[in-house]
Symmetry: C2
Subunit: 465 residues, 2 copies
């Protein structure tokens, strides 16, 4: 935990509000009050405790997601949001039915794996020899047909990083590996889990088949199982694995983004959007991914709703549907809202676990930067500093091309990928005080953006984009 500096030290900040930010001293004081209130204890932990306990896993397409929808509406209501509505999202339903694997020879023992989201089934028990690759490039380098009748095993380790920068290269293996392997003739893909842990709990996550390439089943071994299989292969004898994955798409379903609003006092049709995604993978209880984000932003909006006077603009908190299977709720939001995106003052999503926020980065025009600078001043006592790099949260990213200005509040994700998409994504991985710090940051951000006289504009597209 970072030390929290007493508010008194920073009270002078209110005196310095710049005219260019469109904020006056009173609104800065109000934002500081929100910050202090959140740091004294917010409702976020109770919200995520409620979601994980009363609903638990709520994968897109599951009956549990419908219960989560009811839960979210009730929670918005209990938290005092004055407008609560649903936005439909229709998509094909993927189901995990069963999964198992074992080494048949030369060293018989079971293996722990989980099907990747989107994977097809094996034709009953699939038995084949395993061929290991250090990474996707090594797999791509072998001639087509080389892996005929074999299982490709890509054993790329993920690097731990505060900013999650280790995720890109390994999640690319997960997303695209099956079609690459199929092109070489493989009958299945095994990957080392996309994770930084050493627990015998595999990491699921979405994969996608390329059109025109055979659709082979794809699964992730837990990190210790990937090591075990590699140690077997190192001995030089052919290693035969039997795997049985029963999974796949069937039918479609309509689910809903659940939206709660604190209506603005003077410009109610202009909105600041914050949120997280309500769906989770099926293995854990969806605590850090993304019960935390839903809880933080619900609690932040509720704090603003508790003010004597609502801000000028509307605070819209969105619990997005089915982020995990392709930002489906985020895309539905963008599609539905593209005609009124110019009424969107700012967007920010919390979807990187429950670790504290240490930086902020904004995707806004140069003219809008004085407001961001003013917000940064109020966030500074929370241990948050401006950062150079960053991007919008996943579910707001489809709205960015339509002109959504955005801020990323960057969290410490050092341990996020220890638990991400595994059965270990449970409530005990969350610290209540860390959530409070994030509620403070989201409340300050959303309030000041909603209260500023300035109209925030998005960062202009860069040349070549």
């Amino acid at each position: 935990m970072r030390p929290y500096l007493p508010a008194a030290l920073f009270a002078f900040a209110a005196l310095g509000a710049s005219a260019e930010s469109g904020l006056d001293a009173k609104s800065i004081r109000t934002a500081e009050g929100l910050r202090e209130s959140a740091m004294r204890g917010s409702q976020a932990y109770a919200i995520v405790e409620s979601l994980t306990t009363e609903i638990g896993p709520r994968m897109g397409g599951s009956e549990a997601y419908d219960r989560a929808t009811v839960w979210a509406q009730a929670k918005f209501k209990a938290l005092g949001y004055d407008k609560i509505w649903l936005q439909p999202v229709t998509f094909p339903v993927w189901q995990r039915r069963s999964e198992s694997a074992r080494v048949i020879s030369p060293y018989p023992q079971h293996l722990v794996l989980t099907a990747l989201g989107g994977s097809e089934s094996t034709p009953g028990d699939l038995r084949a020899e395993v061929v290991e690759f250090a990474d996707l490039d090594a797999l791509k380098a072998v001639p087509d047909g080389t892996l005929s009748g074999k299982i490709a095993f890509v054993n790329l380790k993920m690097k731990r990083a505060k900013d999650g920068s280790g995720y890109g290269p390994v999640s690319n293996v997960r997303r695209t590996g099956a079609s690459e392997a199929a092109r070489k003739g493989a009958v299945a893909l095994l990957i080392r889990s996309v994770g930084t842990d050493s627990d015998r709990l595999p990491h699921t996550g979405m994969m996608k088949y390329e059109d025109g390439v055979a659709r082979i089943p794809a699964a992730a071994l837990s990190v210790p199982d990937a090591d075990l299989l590699a140690n077997m292969l190192r001995r030089g004898k052919p290693v035969t694995v039997e795997m049985n994955i029963q999974a796949g798409f069937s039918g479609s379903k309509t689910e809903y983004n659940v939206i709660g609003e604190i209506t603005g006092r003077s410009n109610p049709d202009e909105v600041v959007i914050i949120g997280g995604h309500l769906d989770s993978w099926d293995l854990g209880t969806g605590a850090i991914d993304d019960g935390a984000g839903v809880a933080i932003t619900m609690a932040a909006g509720a704090l603003i709703g508790d003010l004597k006077q609502a801000p000028k603009r509307t605070i819209r908190v969105i619990a997005f549907a089915n982020e995990e299977q392709g930002l489906l709720g985020g895309k539905a939001y963008a599609e539905a809202m593209k005609g009124v995106m110019d009424k969107h003052q700012l967007g920010a999503e919390s979807d990187f676990g429950a670790g504290r926020i240490y930086a902020l980065h904004a995707g806004v025009s140069a003219e809008s930067r004085p407001l961001i600078a003013e917000i940064a001043k109020v966030l500074q006592p929370l241990g948050i500093s401006p950062a150079e790099g960053g991007g919008p949260g996943p579910d707001i990213s489809p709205s960015v091309p339509y002109g959504l200005p955005w801020v990323e509040l960057q969290q410490d994700g050092s341990d996020y990928f220890d638990y991400h998409h595994t059965a270990n994504d449970t409530l005990d991985k969350i610290n209540a005080q860390d959530l409070d710090q994030q509620v403070a940051a989201y409340a300050v951000l959303a309030y000041l953006a909603a209260e500023s006289k300035m109209d925030v504009r998005p960062e202009p597209p860069k040349a070549g984009n």
Copy 2:
């Protein structure tokens, strides 16, 4: 890791060998040489890597244990042991076939549990309301019949401790809880896993039914699942769980303690015994419990076997069968050897994971203490100090009543119960240098005990015992 002090600093120790220890300066120098050799790198990590990779889980009663027996014989041979033999152990076979559980109402979601060793099956799907107890005393305190038709859930947290002292109270719940619950009318027992982790991996371990009490199925929830269930119950509504455990005893099997010896040069019928247990639970690969103990003591014996001259007495390394289901290999050893227990100079077992040794404690007579003191001097550069409390390792404990003098080399078990009896007991939890330190300690202990002119005698039974 503790710093390792260069040997030169301690070379003078050889000069101080006391006549009462039965050791001369040369034997002390040889022991110091064994210590230095082990610390430069032992074979222990390669041995446990081989066992966990080539055999993996090897539960008592499984076909895999037979393969482990062949493995151990071959490994003793490759390590240069001059006598390798098997000692039979016959016992009833317990099998885990399948296990699953979920909350039916009011908050439907799945639960992660594992059957306790020795548990009977549920009659198909068992659905019942759950009643929580803080500990076994709370369960014992309710009148008989109170839990009629219900599932008793004992949610006692284990305390982390270097010496594993948190294990006693919670493992007592595991061992005896089912009969206590059955006496109150319960149809099943759920316990919080006996573990210090917060991973969604339940801890198995043996339980026992009392004669004359209904034999109800018993299982452990993972720690996050126990918290989840408790959080549900805290809300005050009845919580119904469905569990399906298919497990039980059928038939019997003969397995073997696998024994390797370095024959003594002058008193070959007198033995120093060291060892670990070869069996493991079925969920992990049996790395820390107890591949590590087998590897450490095999490697220590092999180092002694590599000396130009064998010690006076025989070094006997025992890979015990079926420790997990009731010290069955240890009991078989004691029974077979009770007539020659006076030929046993000393015994020590490694069965507390792969953490470094920090203390030694001996169960020997007052007259034998000068030898232990001399051994302690040679162990001191390894960061090992004499300790007051302790007991013999599990598999040698049945030999103690027949007169086996013993030493306990106490390991740092701070994280042992994070992984103990779970799927997470895998090779990655072991540090090779930590094993080397333990090989050094066991080699010194076994060599000096085998070389001393003194006949070690056991601690006399205390009054009242």
